[in-house]
């Protein structure tokens, strides 16, 4: 049976259709979920895609976090359902306290759109099983509120527990390396303690076809990873 992966649309979500395409290319069935509904439509996993839900007004992700759909997702995530938050979806996850920390305005104060070099720090999450720890990948980054921050104790905890999932890789800026937004300890993505909830600022769904965007397909493994986990359960 084909796995069903839900993709949530909030008002102002932008990358929902792109994420559905990525899910399809990975071999799963994408299921559109609407923020006002509570029913998850029997999906096996959920992606919160990028965009500017509610225009990023108040704070990025702050209003979406209170939607009926998020109530269900928070409950299910605590029960172990895989959840991936990309960009604005990551912001929603931190606002919902499914992931620790918060995102602030980039230190450069500009929107940054670039092909970003990342280091995968762990393959031990629901969404990174098809990577190997230490592997470098390139996927697009595009945000203005992408500076990850948390208090030092939380950061220490994340590192000690292996929950820093992605870091901005060090190297020449012209080749896509470097910390683009001032995120603390170069953190690009993290997970919860159980490893089923992952959030990151860069966009794996924009790196799934060789002709499109940067032409790289490093993002596809996010979606194939979660499928393997679902099949093996």
């Amino acid at each position: 049976m084909t796995a069903r992966i839900g993709v949530v649309t909030f008002p102002g979500t932008l990358d929902d259709r792109d994420t559905q395409r990525a899910v399809r290319l990975a071999g799963a069935e994408p299921v559109a979920l609407w923020h006002r509904d509570k029913d998850l439509r029997q999906v096996d996993a959920v992606v919160l895609p990028g965009g500017f839900s509610y225009g990023d007004y108040l704070r990025a992700g702050a209003i979406s976090r209170f939607s009926p759909m998020m109530e269900t997702i928070i409950e299910q995530a605590k029960g172990g359902m895989p959840v991936l938050g990309i960009c604005n979806g990551f912001q929603v996850l931190t606002e919902a306290h499914l992931l620790p920390g918060a995102m602030l305005r980039n230190t450069g104060l500009h929107f940054v759109c670039r092909d970003q070099r990342l280091r995968v720090e762990t393959s031990g999450t629901a969404w990174t099983g098809d990577f190997t720890a230490g592997q470098e990948i390139s996927i697009p980054l595009k945000n203005i509120d992408g500076r990850y921050t948390a208090d030092p104790r939380t950061l220490d905890e994340l590192e000690a527990e292996g929950r820093v999932v992605f870091r901005y890789a060090a190297g020449p800026v012209a080749d896509g390396y470097g910390n683009p937004n001032g995120s603390l300890r170069d953190i690009a993505g993290i997970s919860n303690a159980a490893g089923n909830v992952v959030g990151l600022m860069p966009h794996p769904e924009h790196a799934v076809e060789s002709l499109i965007g940067t032409g790289r397909r490093d993002g596809l493994a996010f979606f194939t990873s979660v499928l393997k986990g679902l099949v093996s359960v």
Partner: protein, 749 residues
């Protein structure tokens, strides 16, 4: 103040009215009185004044714009031509593409962020109103001198506004231009283009037909934004000596616009819309009069039903308001409930404000009292027409006689090398990544090519790979030297850029940015440029499908360079066959296509090295452009070339530098027989491109060029990590990259 009703206007014919303050001429005011057979009410006067302004009525330009229709080439591709919100082109496989370019120059000077942001919002709604899903945007921008303090105010605001609005809509920004020239110091040009895609059967038009159908206003509430903005902002010159005025500027809400897009597309999907018009310049005045004018009957509007953000607005102000993110739809009565349901789903406010009638008048009431009763055509389509005097200015001959060919040229290889570095690092030729990296080019997941590629290329069908390419170009320096040729050079460059990526050029949209039409010299530039563009479009077989005219671009008495910006749209059957610009395969051969002549008038070299503008622009040969495009498209389709880059400002050395930096590889070049190194590197002769040819394809490629009569000269090979011109100099890529990429951040960051 008491309400000025139609009844009152009939009873008080002698009441003085502020027609002059509203920008009307006396004869125009008298004409309104003749049309109505009485004095207009305050609300009617407001409507006429705003709809008869230069911005809305094209009164100075329309006698010249007629040529785009009269000289339109025969084509089966055009589904909707000039006159609608945007033209629509058939791209095959049942798809139609609509695109249009518009200006938001004056608002962007006053308030750069909001001016640029609402410019994006406006053009996106134009595309949406045709029935299409917007799929990409582009922004050709022109600013004053790069180092001028005011450029540091205007440019970052404009760029942040375009990004802030466009990124939030989820529209990839795939191209455009950034040009610096002191002539734009007090009057930047902020042009915005949007492309939309739909199926043929989804095309919608702005007309109100079917007596009894409802008129529904939906989107944002109406506030005091830009009241009178159309006449005041778009038609008057900035006067540095006058009292400081800060007119009401429209403020955009991209989140509201995103909801409006998704909501409207769902309304289209369920076939709930009979006619539709976006609210842009002149707001409700424009939308109601245009819908009624294009329809079969009249229209009755209850203005007091319009949801307001500011309850103190008068009916005149509501009619004039340019509040953003609003649309007006004509809906059959039995579809209204479902229409409102979908709006509610998207949190979009929708209000039934009136109906289509079987009469012939546009009637507007305010709490039951009639305040407007006009023939809608007289407001929307029968505004004044001016035949403004035009004359070739005296200084044109002097300017053209000041030949750039006579400027001192580099005398040594070292000097040549220094001038190459200066050129590729000059603000106009430098990398614009600092700007374009503030725009999202990946969203929607269909971007095949984006800036700095020759044209933006997006996929529109995932199964077949069908795609469209768009490029915008303009060169005010060429157009200043010769407006007729300058307009054709802009067209030729955009056409060439589309072909360079492998797409077949189909249609044109233009944004004509000029000074004051009251100046006969400017009017001559306008007349020449439109004539040049119309002749050029006829020769190339690409019709003008729509566009925009922006006049009064000047500070005090000084007009900007005449700046026709031309957008060309092309189609590619399979995006897998696209040709990028990067040189990335060592050993591939570099060929120069076309003829190189000693042409330096208006060139980047003459500007960078000598701060000079004079002589004649490069010669135009549109037959040659067509041939070059055919070769580029065939070579792409048959896999004979792996990279292509058009030659334009900066000449060959600029193009090769860009292709090398993009691919991370150098090139060894040889100056061809019959050319000197300087002309080879810096000439800006039109109708040229460089291509990278795999050795295995060389014979096939040169045979094809030979057979079809296109000069193709082997000028070198891709190799190493430097650009080496044999016998002259070698420039390491690292040094070129530093020069090319450091300039803009150093000026603006």
């Amino acid at each position: 103040m008491s309400l000025d009703t139609v009844k009152q206007a009939e009873q008080t014919p002698e009441t003085g009215q502020p027609w002059k303050e509203l920008g009307l001429k006396e004869d125009e005011y008298q004409r309104i009185r003749e049309i109505l057979g009485r004095r207009p009410t305050g609300a009617e006067l407001a409507m006429y004044s705003v709809m008869w302004s230069e911005h809305c009525s094209y009164k100075s330009s329309k006698v010249h714009l007629k040529q785009f229709g009269e000289k339109a080439p025969r084509t089966d591709a055009l589904l909707v031509g000039i006159g609608e919100n945007a033209g629509v082109v058939d791209v095959g496989q049942g798809y139609a593409v609509t695109f249009k370019i518009e200006s938001h120059n004056h608002p962007s000077y006053i308030e750069p962020y909001q001016g640029a942001a609402t410019g994006v919002g406006g053009i996106v709604r134009d595309i949406l109103a045709m029935g299409a899903r917007p799929v990409a945007v582009m922004d050709p921008l022109r600013f004053g001198a790069a180092g001028h303090p005011d450029t540091k105010r205007v440019l970052p605001g404009v760029v942040a506004g375009i990004g802030g609005y466009g990124n939030c809509l989820g529209l990839p920004n795939i191209g455009g231009e950034v040009v610096f020239d002191p002539c734009y110091q007090g009057n930047p040009l902020v042009n915005a283009l949007c492309v939309g895609v739909m199926k043929h059967e989804d095309i919608h038009l702005a007309k109100a037909s079917g007596s009894g159908n409802r008129v529904i206003l939906y989107g944002a509430r109406t506030g005091g934004d830009g009241i009178g903005g159309v006449s005041v902002l778009a038609s008057e010159t900035f006067d540095a000596t006058g009292p400081s005025r800060r007119p009401a500027v429209q403020v955009g809400d991209p989140f509201q616009e995103k909801l409006l897009i998704e909501c409207t597309l769902e309304l289209f999907r369920e076939k709930l819309v009979t006619g539709i018009q976006d609210l842009g310049g002149a707001g409700l005045s424009c939308a109601t009069s245009e819908l009624a004018s294009a329809g079969s009957g009249g229209m009755r509007i209850e203005l007091d039903r319009v949801p307001l953000r500011d309850a103190t607005l008068s009916p005149e102000e509501i009619l004039m308001s340019e509040s953003q993110e609003r649309m007006c739809a004509i809906v059959e009565p039995d579809k209204v409930d479902r229409f409102l349901e979908i709006c509610e789903k998207w949190d979009v406010i929708a209000t039934d404000i009136g109906e289509v009638t079987d009469g012939v008048r546009l009637e507007i009431t305010w709490h039951g009292e009639q305040i407007v009763d006009v023939p809608p055509r007289s407001v929307a389509h029968e505004g004044p027409t001016y035949h403004r005097p035009f004359a070739r200015p005296d200084w044109q001959d002097t300017l053209q006689a000041d030949d750039a060919g006579a400027l001192p040229r580099p005398v040594s290889a070292d000097e040549l090398r220094e001038q190459v570095l200066a050129l590729v690092g000059s603000p106009n030729q430098a990398s614009k990544e600092w700007i374009t990296d503030q725009y999202d080019r990946f969203v929607q997941g269909n971007t095949v090519l984006a800036q700095p590629e020759d044209s933006g290329l997006i996929r529109i069908d995932e199964e077949t790979g069908l795609g469209v390419a768009v490029a915008t170009d303009g060169n005010g320096r060429y157009a200043k030297l010769d407006p007729y040729a300058g307009a054709q050079l802009a067209l030729a460059e955009a056409y060439r850029n589309v072909a360079a990526t492998g797409a077949r050029p189909l249609a044109v949209s233009d944004c004509l940015n000029f000074g004051s039409p009251e100046d006969p010299a400017v009017m001559w530039q306008f007349a020449e440029a439109t004539r040049g563009l119309a002749d050029g479009c006829l020769a190339l077989g690409t019709p003008v499908t729509g566009g925009n005219v922006s006049l009064y671009n000047q500070t005090g008495e000084t007009a900007i360079h005449p700046t026709p910006v031309v957008a060309v749209l092309g189609v590619i059957d399979d995006v897998a066959r696209r040709t990028p610009m990067a040189f990335k395969d060592p050993g591939q051969l570099v060929y120069l296509l076309g003829d190189t002549r000693e042409e330096f008038g208006g060139s980047a070299w003459s500007q960078v090295v000598h701060d000079h503008l004079g002589g004649l622009p490069p010669a135009v040969d549109l037959e040659r452009e067509k041939l070059l495009a055919e070769i580029l498209i065939s070579a792409s389709r048959d896999g004979m070339i792996d990279a292509a880059h058009d030659l334009s400002d900066g000449g060959l050395v600029q193009a090769v530098t860009e292709s090398c930096l993009r691919g991370g590889l150098g090139a060894r070049l040889v100056v061809p027989d019959g050319l000197d190194a300087f002309t080879f590197l810096f000439s800006e002769s039109a109708g040229r491109a460089v291509v990278a040819v795999p050795r295995s394809e060389e014979m096939r490629f040169t045979d094809m060029c030979g057979a079809r009569g296109l000069p193709a000269t082997r000028i070198g090979v891709i190799d190493g990590d430097a650009i080496e011109v044999q016998g002259e100099f070698s420039l390491p890529l690292a040094e070129l990259r530093a020069a090319h990429e450091a300039t803009i951040p150093a000026l603006l960051a």
